[in-house]
Subunit: 192 residues, 2 copies
DNA sequence: CAGAAACGATACCGTCTCGTATCGTTACAG
DNA sequence: CTGTAACGATACGAGACGGTATCGTTTCTG
């Protein structure tokens, strides 16, 4: 079983998360959380000193982690695994409703910007690990900017998720990979 | 000169837009607009029946249009022009602060979703016009989904603008084009 | 099992916000 | 030049919201 402190904590977090998904970040209101969770307002303020603190906590808690591909895989295989992890991440429950909120709030709220920063760093690290294999295999120049490559690689998937311009499915994922690889070969062919 | 109705209208719009840029969509408040524009509240409600109506109007007014490339240009040249127009659009004053707001609000507000839809349609139309040249030149299969191609093409630039993962400059634009073209050639070479 | 920590219920305050109403004043069009 | 439409100023009501305070009750912990 869990202790009472844990129970009330998660009850509030779940309520706040639900409100965020249903009505956006402004829908996370103390009274709303109280009504939805059944937890008393005084108790909420015992766990979080302010509303903003709770909001940040919700974002920090719901932010999905990008799964790292098997280290034994080669460059291309790892890249294919990665894009599917990326897809899984984007289609994680509710994430498509949270991500826009995060991208907006980070502009005006430092705490949220930090959460997004940490998430981005973690993703970049995973990506760089895959890139390194590409360098080893002579597919990628070691001087290429990883951030730029990440943007080129993941941009389409992010756009699809945010704008709904295209369905987030395997077809898009495959095209993303082949486009990324195709561009590499067009610039620096596989065999010298 | 301009009529008085026009003057008050634009005064309110400018104030509301400034508030949007500075504090996000929730910062657009009637009292705030009144204070900032110097226009009386009663006058504001003479032009817009509700706050949401004003907000939608602001978004609709600030949404930039994607410039269409010269019709005489060939596929590749048109594509290069297009990506630079796209870049110009993203770096338009304040747009990087408005776009996230739009992507969030469209999830919960139909009016905003319609504004975004119209903008997307206009962009797609411009892009399809360029695509057509690619089809004529045998670079692109006529059965390829334009929406998917647009996503693959513009995704990186959108991501760079939204997340700040990479600077929005000519380097990114050029890489976007070469990646897009490189992928085409890898699948369907230029000369049969 | 006893003391302490956490909790629930409730009331309350100050502020913000939307929207309405009133009325004297100003600009504009015919 | 005159009537009318638009405007400014202001007050007001009602509700939402953040945050504080109080006090009796429950649950954990040692």
């Amino acid at each position: 079983m869990s202790t009472r402190v844990e129970r009330t904590h998660t009850a509030v977090m779940e309520a706040a998360t639900a409100l965020l998904l249903e009505g956006g970040p402004t829908a996370i209101t103390i009274d709303g959380v109280v009504a939805r969770s059944g937890v008393a307002k005084s108790t909420v303020y015992r766990h979080w000193t302010t509303r903003d603190e709770l909001v940040v906590d919700v974002f920090d808690h719901i932010a999905p982690k990008l799964e790292a591909p098997d280290p034994t895989l080669g460059f291309e295989d790892a890249l294919r695994r990665l894009v599917h992890s990326m897809l899984a991440m984007m289609t994680a429950p509710g994430w498509l409703r949270v991500l826009p909120a995060m991208l907006l709030l980070k502009l005006h709220q430092h705490d949220i910007a930090e959460v997004e920063q940490r998430m981005h760093d973690a993703q970049l690290k995973v990506f760089q690990d895959v890139l390194q294999r590409g360098v080893s295999e002579g597919r990628i120049g070691a001087d290429d900017d990883p951030e730029l490559l990440l943007t080129l690689f993941v941009g389409p998937i992010l756009m699809a998720g945010l704008t709904g311009s295209t369905e987030l499915n395997g077809a898009l994922a495959d095209r993303s990979v082949s486009q990324f690889l195709g561009a590499l070969d067009a610039v620096a062919p596989t065999a010298p």
